[in-house]
C-alpha cells in the first residue's frame, strides 16, 4: 500500500511537469503563428497603402484649339501628313492660353511639363480618327506629368523649402488655380492596365508584362504538366522498384527541386539560347527555363498523389483483369488528379513569381510593345516589378507596389483555383 501511494505521488509530480511542458509548447506555437501573421499583415498593408494610389491617375482639363495654322495641316491632308502634324504646338498653345504671362524660359519649360507627353499622342489619335475636328475648339482631359500627379496624391510636402521640392512655388500657384477651378480630377488609371512599360511613370502600364507572364506560363504549363505527370506515372507505376538506376533518378529529381533557380537561368542561357538558338528574352525561352524549375515540383507532387491512392483500388482493377495502363488511366490517375492539379498549380504559381533565372535569359529588357506571341520579346510581372523598383522617379514607387498587388492577385487566384479543383474532384472511398 505504501509503495502504491508513493508511485501515485511520483506520477502526480511528473504530471505537473508534463502539463507545464505542453503549455509551454502551445504558447510557443501560438506565439510563432501570431508573429508570422503580424509580419504578413505588415507586408500586405504596406504594399496596399503604397500601391493603392497607382490605380488612380490625375487628369487635367485642357482647352485646345485645333487650328490649321498651329497644326500646319488641314482636314483633307493624307494620313501621314496628319500623323506628322505639330500637336506639340497645339498643346503648348493651350497651356500658354490657360496660363498667360509665362515668359521666363525655365517657367515655360515647367509649363510644358505640366501635362504628360501622352497628351500629344491622345490628340494625334483623336485627329487621326476624325480629321473633321481640325479648325475646332476642343476641351479634353489629359494626364498630368508624374511629378504633378505625385503632388496631388499628397506625396510632395509643400511646407518644405523650395529647393528640396520637385514642385516649385510658381508651379504651386498654377496647381492651386487649377484645383480651385475644378480643372483637376482623379480618375481610375485605366492606362495602367492597357499599356506597356514606359520611361514616363504616368504612362507606364503592366499589360506587356502581364501578357509576357501569360505566354510564359502557357509555355511552362503545356510542357511541364504532361512531362511531369508522365514522369511521375512512370516512376510510380511502371518503373521497377529497388532498382539502383530508378533510385538514382529519384534522388536527382529531389535534388533538382532544391537547386537555386538562377542556376537554371544559366543553363537556359547556355543550352537553349547559345546552343539551340532560341530567341532571347522571349516567353518561349522563359517558359522552357521555368519548365525545368517547375518539373521537380510537379513530379514530386504527382508521385505523392499517385502513392496516396489506396492500393486496394489497384488490386481491384488488376483482379478484374485490367492491364497496367488501364489500371492507371481508369482508376489511379483520376483518383490522383486533385493532388496532381494542386501540385501543378502551386508549381505554376512558383514559376509565375520566379525572377532570377529570367534575368539570365534577357527577360529584363525594357519592353514597350505588348507581346503578340511566344516568340516576341517580353517582360514578365516579377521582372517588371524589379525594373520599376530600380527606377529613380518617385511615381514608380507606387507603380512597383501596384504591380506587386497585381502579381499577388494572380497568385491568390491560382491558389484559390487549386483549392476549388481539389474540392471539385475529391472523391471518397
Amino acid at each position: 500500500m505504501m509503495q502504491m501511494s508513493n508511485k501515485t505521488e511520483l506520477v502526480r509530480a511528473s504530471l505537473a511537469k508534463r502539463y507545464a511542458r505542453e503549455k509551454r509548447f502551445r504558447f510557443w506555437g501560438l506565439a510563432s503563428i501570431v508573429l508570422s501573421l503580424a509580419f504578413l499583415a505588415i507586408l500586405l498593408s504596406t504594399i496596399f497603402m503604397q500601391g493603392w494610389p497607382a490605380f488612380t491617375q490625375t487628369y487635367m482639363q485642357l482647352d485646345v484649339s485645333l487650328s490649321t495654322e498651329a497644326l500646319e495641316v488641314d482636314a483633307n491632308a493624307p494620313a501621314d501628313k496628319l500623323r506628322a502634324a505639330s500637336y506639340d504646338t497645339v498643346v503648348m498653345n493651350a497651356l500658354t492660353t490657360r496660363f498667360p504671362g509665362v515668359t521666363e524660359r525655365k517657367q515655360k519649360m515647367a509649363l510644358k511639363k505640366l501635362v504628360s507627353s501622352s497628351a500629344t499622342y491622345d490628340l494625334q489619335k483623336m485627329v487621326m480618327t476624325n480629321p473633321k475636328l481640325i479648325g475646332t475648339q476642343q476641351s479634353l482631359w489629359v494626364m498630368v506629368d508624374d511629378d504633378i500627379d505625385t503632388y496631388f496624391k499628397g506625396n510632395i510636402d509643400r511646407t518644405q523649402p523650395e529647393a528640396d521640392r520637385r514642385i516649385k512655388d510658381f508651379q504651386l500657384v498654377w496647381l492651386d488655380d487649377l484645383e480651385a477651378k475644378h480643372e483637376i480630377e482623379r480618375r481610375f488609371n485605366l492606362p495602367f492596365f492597357t499599356s506597356g512599360d514606359s520611361r514616363e511613370p504616368e504612362q507606364a502600364g503592366i499589360l506587356s508584362a502581364l501578357m509576357g507572364s501569360f505566354y510564359t506560363m502557357l509555355v511552362t504549363m503545356t510542357l511541364a504538366f504532361p512531362i511531369g505527370v508522365a514522369a511521375a506515372i512512370y516512376l510510380e507505376e511502371f518503373a521497377p522498384k529497388n532498382n539502383p538506376l530508378v533510385d538514382f533518378i529519384e534522388v536527382n529529381i529531389n535534388n533538382l527541386a532544391a537547386v537555386p533557380s538562377i542556376v537554371f537561368g544559366l543553363l537556359g542561357l547556355a543550352v537553349f539560347i547559345q546552343f539551340f538558338g532560341v530567341p532571347r528574352s522571349t516567353p518561349l525561352v522563359g517558359g522552357l527555363v521555368l519548365t525545368l524549375i517547375t518539373l521537380p515540383t510537379i513530379i514530386i507532387a504527382s508521385r505523392a498523389a499517385l502513392k496516396s491512392v489506396p492500393p486496394s483500388i489497384r488490386q481491384a482493377a488488376y483482379g478484374m483483369g485490367a492491364s497496367r495502363v488501364q489500371t492507371v488511366f481508369h482508376h489511379t490517375l483520376p483518383l490522383a488528379m486533385p493532388g496532381i492539379l494542386t501540385g501543378t498549380i502551386i508549381g505554376m504559381a512558383h514559376a509565375l513569381g520566379e525572377t532570377a533565372p529570367l534575368l539570365m535569359i534577357g527577360m529584363v529588357a525594357f519592353i514597350v510593345d505588348i507581346p503578340q506571341g511566344i516568340t516576341d520579346p517580353a517582360a514578365i510581372l516579377p521582372v517588371q516589378i524589379y525594373l520599376w523598383s530600380d527606377s529613380p522617379e518617385r511615381a514608380f514607387t507606387e507603380k512597383t507596389s501596384a504591380a506587386i498587388i497585381v502579381l499577388l492577385f494572380f497568385l491568390v487566384m491560382m491558389n484559390l483555383l487549386a483549392v476549388l479543383l481539389r474540392k471539385r474532384f475529391e472523391r471518397r472511398w
Binding site: N242, S312, Y318, G319, L335, W429
Partner: protein, 303 residues
C-alpha cells in the same frame, strides 16, 4: 442449406485446454519437430489429389524479396464446382497461395513463383499465358470491400467493358442486372444504379465486388477472407451467396474462421508456416483430422 445445417450439427469444438504448463511446453517442442517433419514430407496428408481437377498445383514455392520463402512445396488439386476453404494461422501462406492462382503475385515486386500450376491442364505461369486473360477466367474478391469510386452500374460493367464482352448497351444492362441478381444485391440497388458504389454498406459493397467479379463470367472465384470486415448478418448473406454460386463457379476461399470453413466448404486445406499440412473433405478435417497439427489447430490449442 441442408448440408450446411448438417455440418454445423456434427461439428464439435473441444473447448477444454490442458492447463498444465509442462504440457504446453511439450506441445511447443512438439510443433517444432512436426515442422521438421513437414519439410521432409512429400505430399500433404488426407486427399489432396482429385481426378480431372480445375486447378492442378504441384510443388509450388513462393519467394518474396530477399529470398524470403512464403510457401514450401504445395501440392493441391481443386475440383470443379467445389468450395475449397483454406484455413490456418495468420502468415501461413494461405493468401499467398490463393494469389498464385490468378497471378496477382505478379503485381508484387520481387515475388517469384516456381512449381507447376495448371488451370484445366494449361500452365498458368507459361510465358505465353497472359495474366490479363487469366484474371478474366479467375476472378477475385478481396478482404476489404474495394468497389471503384464509380457508380454501382459502372462497377459491375467495368469488367465486361474492358474485356469487350458486349457490343451494345442493352447487352451490358442485362449483364449488370444478371450479375447483381446473382450476387443478391439487385433488389436493394435497382433504383439507384447510378449512385456511387462506395455509398453502400460494407456487406453490400462486398456483394457489389462479387457481382463485379462474376460479371465477366469467370470459371473460378478466389475469395480472400471476404467476410472478415463484415458484421454477422452481412456475413451470413455472403455465405449463403457462396453456396449458391457453387452451382456455376469453382470457389477458393481463404478464411480465418474455422466455423465459416465448416459452414460453406466441401473441402478444407490446412496451411501451417507455409506448408500445406492436410487436405480433406471438410467434414473429415473437422471431425477426424489425420495430422496432429490440424487437430491442435481446430481444437484451438494454438492459432
Amino acid at each position: 442449406m441442408n448440408t450446411l445445417a448438417l455440418t454445423n450439427n456434427t461439428m464439435t469444438f473441444p473447448t477444454s485446454k490442458d492447463p498444465s504448463a509442462a504440457n504446453s511446453k511439450d506441445q511447443a517442442v512438439d510443433i517444432q519437430t512436426i515442422v521438421e517433419e513437414l519439410k521432409h514430407a512429400t505430399q500433404p496428408v488426407g486427399v489432396p489429389f482429385l481426378d480431372d481437377p480445375k486447378f492442378y498445383t504441384r510443388d509450388v514455392d513462393v519467394f518474396y524479396t530477399g529470398a524470403k520463402q512464403a510457401i514450401f512445396g504445395v501440392d493441391l488439386d481443386i475440383g470443379k464446382n467445389e468450395v475449397i476453404a483454406m484455413i490456418g494461422p495468420s502468415g501461413c501462406g494461405k493468401s499467398t497461395f490463393l494469389r498464385c492462382l490468378n497471378r496477382m503475385n505478379d503485381t508484387i515486386d520481387g515475388c517469384k513463383v516456381t512449381g507447376q500450376l495448371l488451370l484445366d491442364g494449361e500452365d498458368i505461369y507459361a510465358k505465353e499465358q497472359d495474366p490479363v486473360l487469366l484474371r478474366a477466367r479467375v476472378g477475385m474478391v478481396f478482404q476489404k470491400p474495394n468497389p471503384f469510386p464509380k457508380s454501382i452500374y459502372d462497377n459491375v460493367a467495368y469488367g465486361p467493358r474492358i474485356h469487350g464482352l458486349t457490343t451494345n448497351r442493352s447487352e451490358l444492362d442485362d449483364i449488370v442486372e444478371d450479375s447483381l441478381k446473382k450476387a443478391g444485391l439487385f433488389n436493394e440497388v435497382k433504383d439507384r444504379l447510378q449512385a456511387p458504389g462506395t455509398g453502400l454498406s460494407g456487406g453490400q459493397q462486398q456483394r457489389l465486388c462479387i457481382a463485379r467479379a462474376i460479371a465477366v463470367s469467370p470459371e473460378v472465384i478466389l475469395m480472400d477472407e471476404p467476410t472478415s470486415a463484415l458484421d454477422p448478418i452481412a456475413t451470413a448473406t455472403i455465405e449463403e451467396l457462396i453456396d449458391e454460386l457453387r452451382q456455376s463457379f469453382t470457389i477458393c476461399i481463404v478464411t480465418h474462421s474455422m466455423q465459416q470453413a465448416a459452414r460453406i466448404s466441401q473441402r478444407t486445406a490446412y496451411f501451417h508456416l507455409g506448408y500445406l499440412v492436410e487436405v480433406n473433405k471438410t467434414n473429415t478435417v473437422f471431425t477426424n483430422p489425420e495430422h496432429r497439427l490440424t487437430e491442435n489447430y481446430i481444437t484451438g490449442r494454438f492459432g
